[in-house]
């Protein structure tokens, strides 16, 4: 038979072997060489469920919670599980249209794939939540998930407390992928500065899921799970009652108030006007409210207490006196004969409110009378000292003092986006005057004008230096962190360091200035701010300012500045108040400081003060040019949208009577009355008589 074919058995064996080797080769490739399949299998079957810890609570100095947690609900959707659902009913329940519905579903598929849950609507209103709960069985694929939100029980502190919101892609990148899509992160204020403390530690539960994405149990019996650790609370110096008063008194006004405890640098109250209810930025209307606030020209989102830069004006004078004393160019008994104007530079500027003889007979009197000539003169004495050689060196020395006082540099308060204020460099003057300038060039720096700019926080801090007789602590909110550890010194160590800025001035000399400031409340410009039973030292300031609107320079109402501390002999509170475009410092800023001091020092308000407080709250001093500014901004934006979308509803309300939107205007050429033009007229989309058949578009199969 075919015995001669016996050798073929070997060929057959070889074929078997070769095919098996090929299979083994692919197995080596899949199982040993390619590392990607293990993680892919994990990704398939293991779902790391994040357990969010409760965020830390923020307390005021009396242990009242001013920022707390509450539970709201997110609506989650798993697109693959939506089957046979009554979409129309769902949409009417959620108050959206079907196009929006489709858009959101597609978005969530792109974000988290078809089979994983993603947020369909975050933070349901209580009504929506109730409606959905009743009907949830009708909507497969949708489920409610608890989401803790932040609440502000006193409705105050929007600027300083900040808010939380979903992380942006930028945040995620910055955190080196620590945060994930949908996480919440502190934005602005203490929420942002102390994010790591407040956030706590996220926990993870590893769950097993099957091919339909159902969770079927714990992975490895929870061996790799980590528990969530709640965020720690912050204990602040804030006095929520003071904060409430400050915010109320700023309502309807533009300005800022900062109150500091001089002995510790702890901030008792910080308000910026106009303000808003922080609860507006939590919950379901968050985005709508945010848009409204962001588009307001009064900039309610701006924390003017740390971001606003103002010319300090006369409130700077006591500091000027301190520098002159420290440098030894004057003694408290130094006097200057001012006849109503300062003539030493030949211009007769600046003028002075007083012209009677002896109104600047010594430092105390000059301070009480706020003599411009006196303080410009002592500024010049400081910078023109022989030991510095020339004015530029002298000026740099003077600037060093300013920086030491915290002016022109960021103080380092524990809320973000602090403004440094402005104390010009010599280069600024060199440039403006081609290198040739003297102390006469910028002599008004001595009375807090020229190019000087300071934030209300810096002004309040400067008061602390006087009140403390030479030192300050960096202003800050947080006194302590619950369960504080050594690692927390990153946050708090810098606030517990004493800044000794003036060392050569004996206490008696401080006393002269303090007395001078006290005189201001006795017979000077701040007599209205006397607090019953307390000695108050204060200084008012009034700064002129201008703006450009519609191409014209217009003079605005003065900025009302006010600084003070009390009690004069043992200061417990230092305050700076700025009222933008309100009028005189004593008239418009003083009352706020007065109410705050009275409340803080006496614990109650006297009947008269209460009445004054209530009247003040009602007054509206919003700058008049804001209305015009708002109109201009809105109309420019409307035009921008109109140009993008060609939808004239954006600009309709800005058009004059009878005026037609620009794009429509073009088509208003009188059409020739031919049949052709009539048809084209009717086919115009704006008339909607007929819908023009859309051009056939290429669609891929």
């Amino acid at each position: 038979m075919s015995v001669f074919n016996q050798s073929r058995s070997r060929i057959i064996k070889l074929i078997f072997l070769l095919v098996f080797i090929m299979i083994i080769g692919q197995l080596i490739n899949l199982q040993l060489l390619s590392g990607k399949y293990g993680p892919m299998a994990m990704d398939n079957a293991v779902y790391p469920k994040i357990v969010y810890p409760e965020r830390g609570i923020i307390y005021d100095r009396n242990g009242k919670a001013i920022l707390n947690n509450a539970i709201m609900y997110d609506l989650m959707v798993t697109p693959a599980e939506i089957k046979g659902m009554d979409t129309a009913a769902f949409c009417s329940l959620m108050e959206i249209d079907t196009a929006d519905f489709k858009k959101r579903i597609i978005e969530s598929i792109i974000k988290n794939t078809r089979v994983r849950p993603s947020t369909f609507q975050s933070l349901l209103t209580p009504q929506m939540q109730a409606r959905f709960e009743e009907n949830s069985w009708r909507f497969p694929g949708f489920a409610m998930v608890e989401r803790p939100v932040r609440v502000y029980p006193y409705n105050v502190g929007a600027h300083l407390l900040g808010y939380v919101s979903e992380v942006s892609p930028k945040d995620i990148e910055r955190s080196e992928r620590f945060y994930r899509m949908g996480d919440y992160i502190g934005k602005n204020g203490l929420e942002s500065s102390y994010e790591k403390v407040l956030m706590g530690q996220r926990g993870v539960q590893y769950m097993i899921k099957d091919n339909r994405n159902r969770l079927v149990g714990k992975y490895e019996d929870g061996e790799f799970d980590t528990a969530a650790i709640a965020g720690r609370g912050l204990r602040t110096y804030l006095d929520v009652e003071l904060q409430e008063i400050a915010e109320k008194m700023l309502s309807g006004k533009v300005g800022a108030v900062v109150a500091i405890e001089p002995k510790t640098g702890g901030i008792l109250a910080m308000a910026s006007g106009p303000t808003f209810n922080p609860n507006d930025l939590t919950g379901y209307d968050m985005e709508k409210n945010y848009r409204r606030l962001a588009l307001d020209v009064a900039q309610p989102l701006l924390n003017r207490a740390v971001q606003g830069r103002y010319e300090p004006g006369s409130t700077f004078k006591p500091l000027g006196g301190l520098v002159a004393l420290e440098e030894g160019v004057i003694t408290p008994s130094y006097g200057y004969s001012c006849g109503g104007r300062y003539f030493a530079c030949g211009t007769g500027k600046p003028g002075c409110t007083h012209s009677n003889a002896g109104h600047a007979a010594n430092l105390r009197v000059a301070t009480a009378n706020s003599c411009n000539s006196y303080f410009t003169h002592i500024y010049r004495l400081v910078v023109d000292q022989k030991k510095y050689g020339n004015v530029k060196n002298g000026y740099m020395k003077w600037r060093e003092y300013m920086n030491a006082f915290g002016l022109g540099v960021r103080l380092g308060v524990d809320v973000p986006s602090e403004n440094a204020g402005f104390i010009p460099d010599t280069s600024v003057y060199n440039k403006e005057n081609r290198g040739y300038w003297s102390s006469c060039t910028n002599l008004t720096l001595g009375i807090g004008q020229d190019k000087m700019g300071a934030t209300p926080l810096q002004l309040a801090n400067a008061m602390c230096i006087i009140a403390n007789k030479g030192y300050y602590y960096t202003p800050h909110f947080v006194k302590g962190i619950d369960d504080e550890t050594a690692a927390d010194s990153v946050y708090l160590a810098k606030y517990r360091k004493k800044h000794e800025v003036l060392t050569h001035i004996p206490d008696e000399m401080y006393q002269e200035i303090i007395n001078g400031m006290e005189d201001v409340t006795i017979f000077g410009t701040a007599t209205r701010t006397r607090v019953p039973g307390q000695r108050v030292s204060a200084k008012t300031g009034t700064a002129e300012n201008y703006t450009f609107l519609d191409g014209r320079k217009i003079k605005l109402e003065n900025n009302a500045m006010f600084v003070c501390f009390a009690p004069a002999d043992n200061p417990k509170i230092a305050i700076a108040v700025v009222m933008q475009n309100a009028g005189y410092g004593g008239t418009w800023s003083g009352p706020i400081a007065k109410v705050l001091m009275e409340k803080y020092l006496n614990d109650t308000l006297s009947k008269a003060t209460k009445a004054e407080y209530e009247n003040f709250v009602k007054v509206n001093r919003m700058p008049k040019h804001f209305a015009r500014l708002q109109y201009r901004e809105d109309s420019i934006r409307a035009r921008w949208f109109f140009d993008k979308t060609k939808d004239s509803t954006y600009i309709r309300k800005y058009l004059r009577r009878g005026e037609v939107a620009p794009a429509e205007k073009k088509e208003d050429n009188p059409p020739k009355s031919t049949i052709k033009s009539a048809i084209t007229f009717m086919l115009e989309p704006k008339h909607k008589f007929f819908r023009k058949p859309e051009a056939p578009t290429l669609t891929t199969v």
Binding site: M1, S2, N5, Q6, R8, S9, I11, I12, K13, I15, F16, L17, V19, F20, M22, I23, I24, Q26, L27, I28, L30, Q31, L32, S34, K36, Y37, G38, M40, A41, M42, N44, A45, V46, I106, I109, I110, I208, K209, D210, N211, R212, V216, G217, T700, V701
Partner: protein, 446 residues
């Protein structure tokens, strides 16, 4: 060897029995691993046969029992009845056409009370026997083309019936018997031509139509140039070269599109393209094609299955995750995991080592069967043994290859491992008959 029952045990090749039992045991464990659900009562299930592994265990018992019957049979019985069995098998396959039950999208199954009977499965045995019978006839001269054609017809007739029953995978199995014919003297050139045609078909799928045509023409021209001296002497050679080139281009331009448009089913086209990793060309698309929203590419359902299967096996690593620890197979990511994709359970649970051991066992079995084949005195036994080896080889190679993405997904089981009584019984009987014939290897059977 038992002294009490020398009739059965005498001459039995125990190594094959040992490997057989080992593989079936691994199979039972794999089915257990794939289908066991947390909290199932294991012991209880063996009494009410509610679970797949307990059912498979019963089939194992039945297989052993039938195997015993086969071993008790006289070995002359098999060559004597081979043709009758073959005829019966074909008859049953024909019966399928009017009486098939329409389950799982196949038309190859007859329902007999609670049992599903697939005649094509049974035909694997009958073809092996009938082919052996035909080749062992004294009057058969296998060097003649006529005999070769008859042998091919015996083998391929059930295959054609299978294709008509929409069981392309099963039909392909019958091509494995060409290995038997190769051993018995089928000219190697036929296999080479067959392989070349297969390569041409694959190239057609991979390359652009006109490019491939140019390449083929180029090859033709090159051959003509190289052989120009011979051509000068013999003009017929030139005609042959032109003819072969023309046939190749014809296959590429007309036969392949015809196959893909009319012969193959929609899912088969998808699976083939999934294996070679290309999108289905527009001309072969039937019905709707889902376009992936993200990538803008076609969503091929066959892709998902193979991808999950590769993830399962790949994630096993060197040592595997352990029995019942494989997340891919336990939580439903792998499709058909107890039948066609049972290899995933081993690959994921026991890793490369487990897979290697199992494949090693198969190779050992195949080599052992070839050795057994070569020691037969009768041609019938030898041919039959090669038939068994070819069928097992084809099943193992294709099944494992499709789970690791080397072959298109055609639904054929992994011998002795996959869940399913019919498959287990068929392979058990194939092996049992082989053992019986081998026990009487000194006899000359006709």
């Amino acid at each position: 060897m038992s002294q009490r029952n020398p009739g059965i045990s005498k001459g039995i090749d125990w190594s094959v029995v040992g490997i057989y039992i080992l593989i079936v045991t691994i199979g039972l464990m794999a089915i257990f691993g794939a289908t066991y659900k947390e909290g199932d009562p294991i012991v209880q299930s063996f009494f009410n046969f509610s679970t797949d592994y307990s059912k498979q265990f019963i089939f194992f018992g039945v297989s052993l029992l039938l195997g015993l019957f086969v071993l008790l049979t006289d070995s002359k019985f098999f060559p004597a009845t081979a043709n009758i069995f073959y005829a019966a098998g074909i008859f049953m396959m024909l019966l399928v056409f009017p009486f098939h039950s329409n389950i799982k999208g196949t038309e190859s199954i007859i329902k007999l009370g609670p049992l599903n009977f697939q005649p094509a499965e049974f035909c694997k045995i009958t073809v092996a026997l009938a082919l052996a019978k035909y080749l062992s006839r004294p009057e058969t001269d296998f060097t003649q083309t006529r005999s070769q054609v008859i042998a091919a017809c015996i083998t391929l007739f059930p295959a054609i019936l299978s294709i008509l029953q929409k069981e392309t995978g099963l039909a392909l199995v019958f091509f494995a018997f060409f290995l038997v014919m190769f051993r018995e003297g089928l000219p190697a050139s036929i296999l080479v031509v067959g392989f070349s045609v297969a390569a041409l078909v694959v190239m057609t799928l991979l390359l652009e139509k006109n490019l491939l045509a140019f390449i083929l023409l180029g090859i033709g021209l090159l051959v003509a140039l190289l052989l120009r001296r011979q051509i000068r002497r013999d003009k017929v050679l030139l005609a042959k070269i032109i003819g072969i080139t023309a046939i190749c281009v014809g296959i590429q331009f007309f036969v392949v599109p015809f196959l893909f448009k009319t012969v193959l089913g929609k899912h088969q086209v998808e699976r083939i393209y999934s294996t070679i990793g290309k999108e289905i060309p527009e001309e072969y698309i039937r019905g709707e094609v889902v376009i992936n929203e993200k990538s803008g590419k076609q969503e091929n359902t066959a892709d998902y299955n193979v991808k999950q299967s590769k993830i399962a096996i790949g994630s096993g690593g060197l040592t595997g995750k352990g029995l019942l620890k494989g997340t891919q197979t336990r939580y439903g990511f792998v499709p058909e995991q107890r039948t066609d994709f049972i290899f995933d359970t081993i690959g994921e649970g026991f890793g490369f080592i487990g897979s290697f051991v199992l494949l090693g066992l198969y190779l050992l079995l195949l080599f052992r069967i070839v050795t057994i084949a070569e020691r037969q005195r009768s041609v019938f036994s030898r041919c039959y043994a090669y038939g068994v080896a070819s069928v097992i080889f084809f099943h193992v190679a294709i099944n494992v290859s499709m789970t690791i993405g080397l072959a298109p997904v055609i639904g054929i089981p992994l011998p002795l491992i996959s869940y399913g009584g019919a498959s287990l019984l068929t392979f058990s009987l194939l092996i049992a008959i082989l053992l019986r014939l081998d026990a009487d290897r000194q006899m000359v059977l006709r």
